[in-house]
């Protein structure tokens, strides 16, 4: 028969209460145990990392001592490196004066008589004499039209031109060399 409870109310309540107490006790024990395990894990990890850190420090110290013993070598290499960087830069900037002079030698072979030649980083100036107008045109065309002239110079300017009694032309030309990148 349903619904009939022959036990007294207080007995039923005590039974329930005992069940709850049992459960809560179990939960409490589980919580405390878990917390203890967590602390133990933290403790062992801390110990393990402490040992590793100590070993690591010993190795680091040993490497530092080795590097300090090689300090002389390091300084020498540092000097070598710094100077080589500088030397490489100087070498890249070296003006190939020889190439320009060879070009002017070719001019002389064409019948242009060179009086003086001035080569600077930003400008090349020369004064010369041509026996006639054809030779003078040839000289100018060598700078403007020839492959070598175009390679060496980016700008050609006739600064002065005069003719003497013998009919020879004296002139001054200034050129901007191609190795000059300007300001």
């Amino acid at each position: 028969m349903k619904g009939i409870n022959l036990l007294e109310k207080s007995v039923v309540e005590t039974k329930e209460s005992t069940n709850i107490k049992r459960k809560t006790t179990v939960y409490s024990v589980v919580i405390l145990l878990s917390f203890t395990v967590l602390n133990l894990v933290v403790f062992f990890l801390a110990n393990s990392y402490y040992k590793k850190a100590r070993e690591l420090n010993i190795e680091i110290k040993s490497q530092e001592n080795l590097i300090n013993s090689l300090k002389d070598r390091e300084i020498k290499y540092h000097v070598l490196k710094e100077k080589m960087v500088f030397m490489t830069k100087i070498f890249k900037e070296k003006i190939d004066v020889g190439q320009i002079i060879r070009f002017f030698e070719d001019l002389e072979n064409q019948g242009i008589y060179l009086n003086d030649l001035s080569i600077a980083a930003s400008k090349v100036t020369f004064s010369a004499m041509a026996k006639d107008s054809n030779t003078l045109s040839l000289a100018l065309s060598l700078f403007i039209e020839s492959k070598q002239g175009k390679k060496l110079f980016s700008e050609v300017k006739l600064d002065s031109l005069g003719q003497d009694k013998k009919g020879q032309y004296n002139f001054t030309i200034s050129l901007i060399p191609n190795y000059y990148e300007g300001t």
């Binding site: 070598r73 290499y77 080589m84 070296k94 002079i101």
Partner: protein
């Protein structure tokens, strides 16, 4: 209230755990995390140090000294007139030109202010020879491994030289030197190796033989006390 009694153990255990966690365990965990990151940094530092010590150990001490000595000759650490004179003399002999005049413009007397950022000085040079010889001189200067550059050149054929094939060249050379600080920085700073281009140039320099330094013979100085 009666119902709460059943949960006493649970409430107390939660409170105890909460209290212990907040005041002790949490700090321990944070310390553990810090230690982990320190350990990681330590490992990285060790890797850098190992790499650096391997690199330094691989250098041959003797050839390094030789290379540095040659480089100090080619590119001195201070303004060096003696080395420059020796180099110009050698090049002029090889090219068979004669040096007529040398003028130095070494700049101010050295002081801390003037040393900073100043790594060159100018030298004016007048040479005489045939045009071909002057050309050779310039080519040899350009190919020379000495640390100078032709800043400007003026080639003149004077009336006295006309017909003789001789010419005079006035050059301005920029002579370089490089002061290198010997401060290395932190011990973990890696060694910067030479690039391929720098190694190539260094190989060329290894063929240079340094001029021998003549030591003056021992000359007897006589009596230290002339009245003895």
């Amino acid at each position: 209230m009666k119902a709460l009694k059943n949960y006493y153990y649970l409430i107390i255990s939660v409170l105890v755990v909460f209290f212990l966690f907040s005041f002790f365990t949490k700090k321990k965990i944070e310390a553990l995390r810090n230690n982990l990151s320190i350990l990681q940094q330590g490992r990285e530092k060790l890797t850098l140090l190992q790499k650096k010590s391997e690199t330094l150990s691989s250098f041959d001490e003797i050839s390094l000294i030789d290379q540095v000595n040659k480089l100090n000759y080619i590119l001195p650490s201070e303004k060096s007139v003696a080395g420059l004179m020796a180099s110009l003399d050698l090049v002029s002999q090889e090219a068979s030109v004669s040096i007529k005049k040398i003028t130095f413009s070494p700049g101010n007397v050295s002081s801390d202010k003037t040393k900073v950022n100043k790594e060159n000085f100018d030298v004016s040079l007048a040479i005489e020879g045939k045009t071909e010889q002057i050309k050779n001189f310039l080519v040899k200067l350009k190919n020379s491994l000495m640390a100078f550059n032709v800043k400007g050149i003026k080639i003149l054929k004077t009336k006295a030289q006309e017909g003789s094939g001789l010419a005079r060249a006035d050059l301005i050379l920029t002579v370089y030197y490089k002061t290198v600080t010997q401060k290395l920085g932190e011990i973990t700073k890696p060694v910067t190796l030479l690039t391929k281009e720098e190694e190539k140039l260094l190989l060329k320099m290894e063929n240079i033989s340094l001029p021998s330094v003549e030591t003056s013979p021992n000359i007897p100085v006589g009596k230290t006390n002339p009245f003895d």
